[in-house]
Structure formats: C-alpha cells, structure tokens
Amino acid sequence: MAERVAICAVAQTKFRPDRGDASEGEMAYEAIRHVLEETGLTLSDIDSAVSCSQDFWDGRTISNMNIQPFVGAHLGHEDKVAEDGINAVYCGMAQVLSGYHEIVLVVAHTKESQAEKSLVENAAFDPIFMRELGLDFLSAAALQARRYMYKYGITAEQCAKVVVKNRGNARNNPFAQEPLDITVDDVLASRILASPIRKLDTKPISDGACAAILASEKKARKLTEKPVWILGVSSCYEAHYLGDRDLADCAALTKAAQKAYKMAGIRRPFNEISVAEISEEYSYQELLWMEGLGFCGRGEAGRLIDSGKTQMGGKLPVNPSGGMLSGNPTGVAGMVRVAEAALQLRGEAGNRQVRGANLALAHGMTGICGQHQAVMILGTN
C-alpha cells in the first residue's frame, strides 16, 4: 500500500472554442505528450490509464475508445470515469494508494464544439418529469442563482465581480481561452440569457484536454523533483430533483469539503489554504461554492468578494487561472483546477503565481447545479 500519492506532472492544451483541427485522441495526446516528456516516461511505462469523458458529449458509446491508443491501453489497464475530471484523479489515486498500480496516467478531454450543449444537458434531467420542461444546465443554474440571490441578498454586481476578477486573471494564463479586460458594468450590460444569468456570467464553449501523471511516493521521487501530494479528497452527491434541494445551499459541497479538510488536517480553510481553484461555470457559483467550501459563512460570499480577499494578492486568491468562466470544457474543468493548483505549488504558475503557495484546493463539480461535488487538497509537504 502506497503511503502517499503524488502528482508528478500536469499539462493542459490551450483551450479553444473549436478544435476542429484535431480528433478527440489527437487533442488529448497534446496534453499526454507533455506529461510524458516531463517525467521521462513513455506510454509503455504507464501501469494504468484513467480517462474522463462522456459518451453524450463525444457522441460515441464507450467514449474512451477514442483515446485508447493515446493512453497506451494496449494489453494494459484502462478505466473511464464519467464525472468531472477531478474524479478521474481521485480514481487514479485509489489505484496507486491501494498498491495495485504505481504509475497512473489520468486524462480528461471534452470537445464541447462537437455536440449541442443544451440537448446533451437536457438529457441529464429525469426523463419522466423534468426533461420535457426543456431545462438545461443554464436554465437550472438560473433557478439556482435566483434562489441564492433572493435568500441571501447576493447582488448581480457581486456576481459580476467574479467575472471581472476571473476573466482578468486569465490574462496571466497562457492556457486560458478567453481572458477579458472588463468591468462590472460590462457584465451587467451583456444580454440576459436566462434571468438573472447574463452572457458574461457564463463561460464560452470550449474544447480541450488535461493530463497528469500520478505515482506512489517511491516512484514519484524518481519522476519529479517537485511532487505535489494529494492530502485530502472527497466527493458528494446531492438529490436529483431540483425541488428536493435548497438551491441556495450546496450541502453536497459542504460535506465533501469537510471530509477533504479532515483528511488533510485542515481546521481553518480560509486561513490555511494558499490558493483555491474552484469550478465556477456560472458567476454566482464561485460565490456559492466558496460558502460550501467554508471560506465564509452562509450568505456571506457577496461580502467576501467585495472585500477583495479573493483577488490576486489577497488573503486567499481564488482562480488565479481565470477559472472555468474564462473557457474550460465541462468534464475537464475540475481536472484543470487540479493542474493549476499543482502548478501553483510547484512555483510554475508564471505570472499567475501566488507567492509561497504550499497548500492548494481544487474543486470540481458535475451535473445539474453541481449535483455532484468533489474537493481535493494538494500540498508540497
């Protein structure tokens, strides 16, 4: 049984709105090639591959067949996790921690440009009651945003500040798809998509992949001088029917975070964590998820973003990478958060580096209003 699991290398493709130039596998390989080069490994050295993709997005049953040759799966172990990519990292981690494998390649890939987003997302709603309402994740998120803002008095301006911060942070991130230099007024002037969500409260369609090499402590020390340790991790499901949830709350995230913190020995997250990468598909989500993560009390995230503490240079910078809003594909976003957190801890985050980062949080979510939440704590010690 491995004592600890380390992330030895991470890579991302530059996220783009349309990677018509590459097949799913070719796109995934761009990221895979980097992590192999960095660790000096070849595909033949990989014990196991865990990929993350969705049949519905890829338009292919058994979507991992798209990337089989690219992960070296021939006569080897290969698995596919069908949740947000952060869960694929978790799956790989269990394979290493159990002693079953020593070196695991994890890759998440999605080409949102290939499918019709609303139709894919609509298929997530239960077919008997909710599907025929024509909901997709945007309209469901609008319901959540409205409920959250109503219950706690979160304002549209506060949500807009998330966009301004993250799109602005993205200017420092060479992988970010769409950095923007905008103001709160710009966000509030963008057209309404599903009230209260405006165009600039959402992320652009994005294609891309993210890869990582995980290894046992023993192997990790041979593969990299800067192993990033996975110190804590957990996930949690919410109820499915929107009416069964208090949408102003994110009970699943609160629970997942508590378990991850406990595992990592974190008592006061806002004080102890150096940098946080959160999956915010819609602007209000960064606020709501921060509450779930315990960065502040319930309903206080508006004040938190007002305080500036989550800006670059603030007490706990959130999404120095630009986050999901700057353009990450669904399913890959959570793994990108892990990759960005790892880069921060390795001191390799370039212009978006948070100085002295030694404890990072990565968050991923899947499904309707984040029905499935996952949190991972990474550290240098």
């Binding site: 990677r19 590459a22 097949s23 796109m27 595909l43 021939h74 080409k111 139709l119 894919v120 298929a123």
Partner: protein, 165 residues
C-alpha cells in the same frame, strides 16, 4: 411488481411510458490523420493510411499513435490497394437500427472483413446480397460513390463488388 386488476382477473395493467424522440446532432473532427484519409477518398478516390515507424504495420484507421507500439506512428503515408479477398463475412437478417441515420437497415446485407491485396484488413459492405453467392476467398474491388456524393470517409466506398479473378 405487476398488480392484478381487480375487475378482470388476469388483465395486464397498462403502464404509462414516456417516449422521447430527440435527434442529437454531433460534429466530429476527423483530425489530422483520419482527415487525410477522408480527403484522399473524397478528392482522389484513394484509400490511404500511415505506416508505423516502429512496427512498420499500416495502421487502419490511420492514427497519430500506434496503439500496439505505444509510440507516435509518424507520417509515412501509403496508398492501399482497392482490391482484396473476403476473409470473413456475415449477413444481416434481422433489421437493425443505424444510430447515425436513424433508420433501420433493410435486410439482408453482407458485411465482410476484406483483406486488401497489400495486407490491410478493412471491414465494409459487399454489393452481393444473395447469401448463396457469398463465400470466403471471393475477390472484390471497391466501388466508389459518384462525384458530389463523397465526403464521408470510408462510406465513400459504397461497397465492394465481386470480381472474377
């Protein structure tokens, strides 16, 4: 489980089902390698693939990474023969849905594993629909769709026609 109707004894209860019929469109990228095969088929009625730099096998479908060697296969492109031998075949009797066209295929039709003369195996349809005329070892050649009808990769080859050799 099934509830018995109290009035009519063994009458089966009618369950309500929700039918959802939604076409879901996709736009797949052929990428660099399969894209080249598509282009050659579309423009030049040629079947091309790349040969792995390590194992020297022709990869079908063409691929950036040779799955067996686990290395980048390289860009040694070769044109494949368009005649071959049927190694194995089967024919459809029971109509099955095609998820790409949303139609049921008429039956019967033959689907064969064809060994092209240069050693590459290709799975494709046969023109011959009389099952009594199908046999392993029969010689076939590719029949292309007309100009203006191509653009769908290997589907540009309508089927393989039996030839006398």
């Amino acid at each position: 489980m099934a509830k018995k109707s109290s009035q009519e004894g063994e009458k089966k209860p009618e369950y309500i089902t929700v039918k959802i019929d939604v076409p879901r469109k996709y736009r797949w990228s052929t990428g660099k390698y399969i894209g080249r095969t598509y282009r050659e088929a579309h423009e030049n009625k040629k079947i091309v693939a790349n040969r792995c730099v390590k194992c020297k096998e022709v990869l079908w479908p063409p691929m950036q990474v040779c799955g067996r060697c686990k290395v980048e296969a390289g860009e040694d492109w070769v044109e494949l023969s368009q005649t071959g031998t049927v190694m194995q075949y089967t024919y459809l009797v029971y109509p099955l849905w095609d998820p790409h066209y949303g139609e049921k295929f008429a039956n019967p039709y033959a689907n064969a594993m064809i060994l092209l003369d240069d050693g590459v195996y290709i799975r494709h349809f046969l023109e011959e629909t009389d099952v009594n005329k199908l046999k392993v070892g029969m010689r076939v050649e590719a029949v292309w769709r007309g100009d203006g009808e191509r653009g769908e990769g290997m589907a540009d080859v309508k089927y393989f026609r039996t030839i006398d050799e």
